[in-house]
């Protein structure tokens, strides 16, 4: 039914993409170090991180556009370090589309088949099928410059699709689109993946994009993978302070303090308030920690602390309210439109089970 048939993957237990202690340096600058990843057949994985964290370099190494300085890259169990992209059977969607400006949409999509000397009739049939599935049939004769941003994006995806590759690579493909279109294309790519089931590696710096599209996310920081897990794991159980603060909007609130035991439970005093820590956090009295609280876990009306409203920011489905008290400030997310006014005094409560505790020195979650 679809133009790109499912591939019969021989052995689902062998990772589709495996990186073993992969490192990359440009001269003395080390961009990636000790990157270990194992991506399952058919999985959609995102490399997430700020610019300069090594995510695009990692993607380029999987693509075969850059060599690794150290380590091995295996695709379906086979070491591919020295192979070209075509031999690796991977296709890539580039950040700025990288469409050939002098070729029509049909020529752009069919270019890779032409390079492989596929018969002309077959090229035409495959391009037509891809174009139909991406709603590009009516613009096949146009040049890229005559298309809208979303259409250009779809041509770039079509160019990758037409090869029926074993792996799709996406390098920040939506960064040139406006916000509304970005959300739309995100959904299209996810549906495409659900339909075709081709293993995909996606690079972005947009945490919301990563959360919404991925089966698993690898959060990268300074050339390393800080955490590799499902969106839920990454959000609810971040491995490090860095991951906790990178994921979530508004950002998680981090406050540092010293552990004290009260009534047999670990707590951290913050100004006049006292935050109870979860039982399972392995902390000892006197330990310097950072506690993190996500906005949706701060409930108004509790008795953890009493604070003053500083800022009320409605965003439609929710309202972000910034609270000040003598121990710091907290953001809380309330559903719908709030009637709170700046200067009002409120009380807030935080369930100990929702508090994330990080070691002050190592940044690891306890």
């Amino acid at each position: 039914m679809t133009s790109v048939p499912h591939r019969a993957e021989p052995n689902r237990s062998v990772p589709a993409i495996e990186l073993r202690r992969v490192a990359k340096s440009f001269g003395t600058v080390q961009v990636c170090r000790d990157v270990d990843l194992a991506i399952r057949q058919g999985e959609f994985v995102t490399l997430l991180g700020p610019s300069g964290c090594g995510k695009t370099t990692t993607l380029n190494m999987v693509a075969g556009l850059e060599d690794c300085t150290d380590g091995d890259i295996l695709l379906a169990g086979r070491r591919v370090n020295e192979l070209s992209p075509v031999e690796r059977d991977v296709a890539m969607v580039f950040q700025n589309y990288a469409l050939y400006p002098h070729m029509t949409v049909a020529e752009n999509i069919g270019f890779t088949l032409r390079m492989r000397r596929v018969p002309r009739a077959e090229i035409e049939a495959r391009v037509a099928a891809i174009a139909a599935s991406l709603e590009l049939s009516h613009v096949l004769g146009r040049l890229p410059a005559q298309l809208s941003g979303g259409q250009q994006q779809r041509v770039a995806i079509g160019r990758a699709l037409v090869r029926e590759p074993r792996i799709f690579l996406f390098d920040e493909p939506f960064s040139n689109l406006d916000a509304a279109l970005r959300v739309k294309m995100r959904a299209e790519v996810k549906q495409l993946h659900q339909r075709l089931g081709v293993t995909s590696l996606f690079v972005t710096h947009d945490q919301e994009e990563a959360m919404s599209i991925s089966d698993r996310i690898a959060v990268m920081n300074r050339g390393r993978v800080e955490q590799f897990g499902t969106p839920e794991e990454i959000y609810a159980r971040p491995a490090t302070r860095y991951v906790a603060s990178f994921i979530g909007s508004p950002q998680i609130e981090l406050m540092s303090g010293v552990v004290e035991v009260r009534d047999g439970r670990p707590t951290v005093p913050l100004g006049s308030a006292r935050l109870t820590l979860p039982e399972e956090a392995g902390v000892r009295p006197g330990q310097r920690v950072e506690v993190g609280v996500r906005p949706e876990h701060v409930r108004l009306g509790g008795e953890s602390l009493s604070a003053t409203v500083r800022l009320v920011q409605p965003v439609g489905p929710a309202t972000h309210v910034v609270l000040d008290w003598d121990g710091g400030s907290l953001t809380t997310t309330l559903p719908g439109f709030s009637r709170l006014r700046p200067g009002e005094t409120v009380t807030a409560g935080i369930d100990p089970r929702d508090v994330l505790v990080f070691d002050q020195e190592t940044g690891l979650r306890l």
Partner: protein, 301 residues
């Protein structure tokens, strides 16, 4: 009045005011000679006893051109010279631009070396080559004899078969640098991401050159071809210094013929007619050039 004008109008007035002096100068030094030369071409002009006598003969001078053996010879020489030079210059320049665009060719030294032939004053360049090609002491003769290519010294510029080709060689040598830089600029404007995309698409180096580089360079190549054609049509200095049109008119190009007819034969009206033929050809090419350059500016985003 200024207070009632919109900003748009004020800008337009200011623009006119600022370009007016330049336009007056251009009319005086370009417009007047063009009109005067066209008038000359329509007259029979004779110098006798120190006085100029003009008599209007309409298109008579141009009719003479059609029957003139020497003019036909000059036109054929010019055609051969221009076509050969454009092909040689563009192909060589493209090759050099590709080398300079390669990471190993990036150092500025290569670019400096490249520009030298172009930077030498035209007449100095011609004199330089006159010595290189000299029949008795020329370094080319010495070199070729030492390498065993020739037995005896050749009179390169005195042989009808070779003289025009040596002029061609010298002019190509002088013209390549500019065109190479022009094409290099074009090469550098091809986004490198396209080469990555072509590599991912499985294109070989040659296929990437054919399907990415060449189509992206179409505009730059067209501009190079038109400019070089204009310059080839206008060659005068080399002929004047190296051969004076000889041997046996083998190196007479149209521009040199116009000079010879006007200043050696003092047939001023006829010389002006030849000059006007060159002028019209160049003008057409210049219009083509401007058309080629304009859309490139419009498309630049």
């Amino acid at each position: 009045m200024a207070s009632t004008a919109t900003f748009e109008q004020r800008r337009r007035y200011a623009g006119l005011f600022l370009v007016a002096p330049a336009i007056l100068v251009l009319v005086a030094i370009l417009g007047y000679p063009i009109v005067e030369s066209l008038m000359l071409a329509l007259h029979k002009v004779q110098l006798s006893a120190g006085a100029i006598q003009r008599s209007f003969i309409g298109l008579g001078n141009f009719e003479r051109l059609l029957a003139d053996e020497t003019f036909r010879r000059a036109a054929l020489n010019t055609l051969y010279f221009s076509v050969a030079e454009v092909v040689l210059v563009v192909v060589l320049s493209f090759a050099i631009a590709l080398l300079l665009n390669h990471p190993l060719g990036r150092p500025g030294l290569f670019r400096i070396l490249l520009v030298v032939p172009w930077a030498i004053a035209p007449v100095a360049n011609a004199v330089l080559w006159k010595w290189i090609l000299n029949a008795n002491y020329g370094v080319l003769n010495g070199l070729l004899q030492a390498l065993g290519v020739i037995d005896t010294y050749q009179v390169w510029l005195g042989t009808p078969a070779s003289a025009l080709n040596f002029l061609l060689l010298v002019d190509v040598w002088k013209s390549v640098p500019f065109v190479a830089l022009l094409l290099l600029a074009g090469l550098q404007r091809v986004p490198s991401i396209l080469y990555r995309a072509a590599y991912m698409d499985g294109a070989s180096r040659f296929q990437a050159f054919r399907h990415v580089t060449l189509p992206s360079m179409r505009g730059a190549i067209a501009i190079a071809v038109v400019l070089q054609t204009i310059w080839s049509l206008r060659v005068f200095d080399l002929v004047f210094v190296l051969t004076r049109g000889g041997p046996a008119d083998a190196t007479v190009l149209m521009n040199f013929l116009a000079y010879r007819v006007t200043f050696n034969f003092l047939d001023i009206g006829y010389g002006a007619a030849i000059a006007n033929v060159i002028f019209i050809l160049t003008l057409l090419l210049a219009i083509l050039y401007i058309r080629l350059v304009r859309p490139a500016e419009g498309a630049a985003r």
